[in-house]
Amino acid sequence: MKNKIKELRTKKGMTQEELASSVGVRRETIVFLEAGKYNPSLKLAHDVAKKLGVGIDKLFIFE
């Protein structure tokens, strides 16, 4: 599953650490999320999408 987390995060000028602490996960989880190596729970996906100001469907690309 691809995603636009890195793109939107850098656009917002946020670091991985800032995004991680704002959604209550460790920085490593954000690293794995951005690399598409971890499928988040619905709650985490929702929290990240909300933080980045987009909908889940815009953030994650289901193939």
Partner: protein, 135 residues
């Protein structure tokens, strides 16, 4: 308190406990001081852990932890089963082999049963993930 600072404190406490253990038990055969020290240090660590503002574990850690626990139990069960059968086959060579084999068998059964009970508990409530997500 940061996670890095906590890790350093934990390492220092571990070194202190190891030193006190070796000095008191090996040299003077005293068990009272190590027990009291361990309880005190564990309480101190719990206090420091509660002061950490960073996230210690998240949903990914719990997912990995679940998989790791399952694989560990499977590896342990297979190894103990093989060792148990070998010990039981060669029980005539040494009288203690049979009791060791039975002990291994019972500990394996206990471990698998405990896993099953804990799994059922979390499958019904899922309280670990829920509490992690709520933070």
């Amino acid at each position: 308190m940061t996670l890095e600072k906590y890790k350093k404190i934990r390492l220092a406490i571990t070194v202190v406990i190891a030193m006190v253990f070796s000095q008191t038990i090996v040299l003077s055969n005293n068990y009272f001081l190590p027990i009291v020290l361990t309880i005190a240090m564990a309480s101190l660590l719990m206090y420091f852990k509660s002061k950490i503002k960073e996230v210690l574990a998240d949903e990914r850690d719990y997912e990995i932890g679940g998989k790791a626990a399952l694989v560990t139990i499977q590896i342990y069960s297979w190894i103990t089963s093989i060792v148990m059968f070998l010990l039981y086959i060669f029980r005539d060579k040494n009288p203690s082999f049979e009791s060791i084999a039975f002990t291994l068998a019972y500990t394996t059964c206990f471990l698998m049963l405990s896993y099953r009970i804990v799994f059922k508990y979390y499958a019904k409530g899922g309280s670990i993930l829920r509490s992690a997500n709520e933070k």
